[in-house]
Subunit: 421 residues, 3 copies
């Protein structure tokens, strides 16, 4: 009879084998528990036990390889905005803020890749698109298009930032270019640097040489505690312009639906070099956090013309009312998204003050201050809903390079539904 | 003690089985049979038995979650058209009618998503792009871009419609916009409604406020029989124009390859409101079916200008010569594709009469009648080949807003190869 | 003994768990070994044994069906180019040379599909997009958009060609169009032919009839030896122009980053027909190979105008320094990529001479000769890095249709990082 049982079990194991498995995380833990139990009650001796554990660990590696196969994902953001206009029309309405598809994976422990494409505006804009080499201990080499290492909020995914849009001053941050970068990290610090050319569409009309730049960022997080993080960061970037030697900065209010760019320097000519400096700090204490950044850009022009200096900053406070804590990624020196503790989701209240000044010397690009009050509901770790109320205070020169009147101070109420998959 | 081992092993096998399955249907049944056998012969007592069955049922739930992971798919349509031209050139040739990629999935029983992108025309046009909430009993909430609930043929996927192109009058149906919708259904009825803004590319040049609209659709299917369906539906939509207060309707013949739009109202100005009404009916009797729709649009203009009224309709008969029956989706009140009964595929013969009138008061957009004879071969449930012969009868005003001569009556022969994956 | 059984079962369960959750090849072999062992030691009788083996074989079939589901992949190429300019600016810089996503699969042994989209230039260009029927023995029918059967280097994937860019003369090869094709092959030969319309974006502005063409290619590979291949091929194509009866040829140097097209015939009018002829040969001897092609295009114009004749050719030698051999795909008569023998990757040195002449009769499109020295490192079968040094020798007429000066002889140094996933 025992043999019958055994036969039945072998058959059932055979059947099990037929099952194409996907994600055995929980099951694996149960299996490890089983092995421990069988060792404890003497069914397995220690040699057998460790053989089985080792086999499991090995398959874990192969499991990682499997996970390294093309991982498909995407993100969707749907926005609604209502403008309480002051002077100019801003255009109430709806939009797909993001509609992204992406693939990432790796072939072995060494070579990996990522390719993300954004479709929301009817075009197909390639976002991250790089090959990575992880074969070094604690260092990672990337070649392709990705974000230059500069800025805390810009290096935080748009799916994980606290407010619907990044602060005004992110216009000064270099962002994505094609290049090569190296990143490393220790227990409480990260360091990244890179050499970059222009963006992938930088070269459409003109056959002059592309712009190129160098940037580097260092972060330190002295505490290694759960729900407590202290973060400091500093970044520098220097960039040579392309053969046309022009540069311009422009940005709308912290709302994407309108196309009005109040702040606009127009083309600045005869540029020799652009240097940028960034300082960051953040403190997480349980469900409370505060984050701040300052960015400055210095534009050297040809002999005889004065240097230009633009800068901006923001500071915000966030309170996760349901008790969660913001997640810090020590290896990258940036934050990832909120994971709700309960099935009812997480609620967050946040307040940001942001200022940006594009006026200097002969350039009157305008200056603005904005205050944003945000309320977020994280239905689960992939789905969130955001409500932002923004007060805009533009100065006289914030006239969209003459297209609208200055000193225009609208209010914005905007809503977002977002899902990451 | 042996029994303890066996029990431990059976439990461990149960855990293994819990591994998220892909298509473990058959295996799972075998495993349930095994559990029954082990209970019957006393190896498992009832407590053990129900523990294992419960565990299995729970993993069934997780099975659904796994299935909810990103499901990748797409569709390809390749067209060939030969025009027997009357007056103007229509341009014989070939085209990729559709080349779509899409992702859909859900995270748990509550939150899901869909994102589809169309590449056939060299751009990347986002189609369905929404977040859905299915946590209610029998109701479904959607936010994002999707089709307004209006029209039987428009709500039937382009991969499942009976002819190569939808009837002319589908130009009056609202189609996809960004908004929020709620759908519910009972045993023999469905009800859907929503509030919508403009389409995702509605806001490119102008900063006026977007258009917005409300629509609702109710369907009833009084019979619950296999191979027999009686469907009735009605829909209303009201839409406020955007700040420019313009609207226009235009459509070519029921053939996509040519760019000639015989019917064209040009811009209609000073629009206050557009109301639409739709009526639908369909009857399936075994392999025969008949389907018909009528749509009317009323355009209110500023005080003193007369109201405009455009309308159109179609009626068609389909005969599945190989004996299959059209599949009705009771929950959505629309039809899905044909599944061939045999390996040799299914054959369908269909005839449609379609008419559309864009002439009213001061607007002479033209009117047309078209007759289409269609022959479809469904090689399998994913692959089909279509041959359509279309006779076009345009009136004098069907002059593409003056670009071509009116009363132009071409014939069209067109072929499509289609695959859904 | 019972304990031994139990131990065997626990081990087998451990193995089961080890299944690399997607591709169970190795595990399945272990399981088959286990079944053999249990049969040999009497635990399983022969009936039980074959039941289990049969069950396993059946699940194998379903496994293959699963593999037929959508296979997702992509390719990324990141380029850097430095031009040692002679006369005109070529524009040093970086670019995403390719960023592709694609899906392919099949439903059963008969029907399959492929859809690939290229995003590198900000648009979404559909590449291969076809439905295939493989139900015939040794023959394959395709309908949709794919490469016309013509040319060895053009029919080799851009991810597998030996140099960063194809030779100049590939401008004369028809490339991708929408049509229907049939391919068959024997032990040492392949034959493919097709009827094609225009490319998918051929019809945007004009409603004249599309161009259409016929092409056919035959290849022979008389040897069936490992690491030794002798390949011959010949192709013909005839194409009628569209209603505008214009054709033009233009190409830049063998570098994609610059937009300068030195060779340019401008529009050639009154075209009646374009006939093309291609000859190919390749010899692989271990890690050495030589490959050459000649392509000629004859353009017949209206009565009274002389026929035009353009042609070009290339020959290259490749040496895989680490001992690998180029892989020939007998069924397609083309080459696939290099698979490194060792973990340290494969190194390849290659030299190409290329010439192309677009001068004939009244057309002075220019002529060029180019020599390319290439060094490739294949880190693994999916990842490679390429360095190309190109010397360009343009003639007086190679003036980009008057936009630049002729006799411009730049040198090019370019680098590529590439990953296929």
């Amino acid at each position: 009879m025992i043999r019958r049982y055994l036969h039945a079990l072998v058959v059932s194991c055979g059947m099990l084998l037929a099952i194409p498995l996907n994600q055995a995380g929980a099951t694996e833990q149960s299996y490890r528990d089983l092995l421990d139990t069988l060792r404890d009650n003497g069914t397995l001796d220690l040699v057998q036990y460790y053989d089985l554990v080792d086999a499991l660990d090995e398959t874990d590696t192969s499991h990682e390889e499997t996970e390294g196969g093309p991982g498909l994902g995407g993100r969707l953001m749907v926005d609604l905005a209502k403008y309480n206009e002051d002077e100019v029309d801003l255009g109430d309405g709806t939009e797909l803020r993001q509609a992204r598809l992406g693939l990432e994976g790796s072939f072995d422990s060494a070579w990996g890749y990522e390719l993300g494409v954004e479709f929301a505006d009817g075009d197909a804009d390639v976002k991250d698109a790089y090959i990575s080499y992880q074969g070094f201990e604690r260092a990672r080499l990337q070649i392709g298009q990705f974000k230059e290492p500069f800025g805390l909020e810009v290096l935080t995914s748009s799916g994980s930032i606290t407010f619907m849009e990044r602060a005004l001053v992110s216009e000064l941050v270099p962002g994505r270019h094609i290049g090569v970068g190296l990143a490393t990290h220790g227990k409480g610090w990260s360091l990244a640097g890179g050499l970059f050319g222009g963006a992938f569409d930088d070269d459409s009309d003109d056959e002059g040489d592309e712009a190129w730049g160098l940037s580097a960022r260092v972060t330190a997080a002295p505490w290694r505690k759960k729900r407590k993080t202290l973060h400091f960061g500093a970044a520098v970037s220097t960039r040579s312009p392309d053969d046309e030697r022009e540069i311009s900065f422009d940005t709308g209010p912290e709302s994407n639906l309108t196309d009005v760019s109040y702040l606009d320097t127009d083309d600045i000519d005869d540029v020799d070099q652009v240097d940028r400096y960034g300082l960051e700090a953040a403190l997480v204490l349980g469900s409370w956090s505060i984050q701040t950044e300052y960015v400055q850009a210095k534009i050297e022009r040809r002999e005889g013309m004065s240097e230009l200096e633009f800068d901006g900053s923001y500071v915000y406070v966030s309170w996760l009312m349901t008790g969660e804590s913001r997640n810090y990624r020590r290896q990258k020196g940036s934050f990832s998204g909120i994971e709700p503790d309960s099935d009812r989701g997480a609620w967050e209240l946040a307040l940001r003050f942001s200022e940006f000044d594009l006026n200097d010397e002969d350039v009157t690009g305008g200056a603005a201050e904005q205050v944003t009050l945000g309320l977020n509901w994280y239905a689960n770790s992939s789905t969130r809903f955001m409500l932002n109320y923004v007060r805009v205070d533009n100065d006289e020169d914030a006239d969209a390079d003459g297209d609208v009147s200055g000193d225009d101070d609208p209010e914005i109420l905007q809503f977002r539904a977002q899902i990451d998959f």
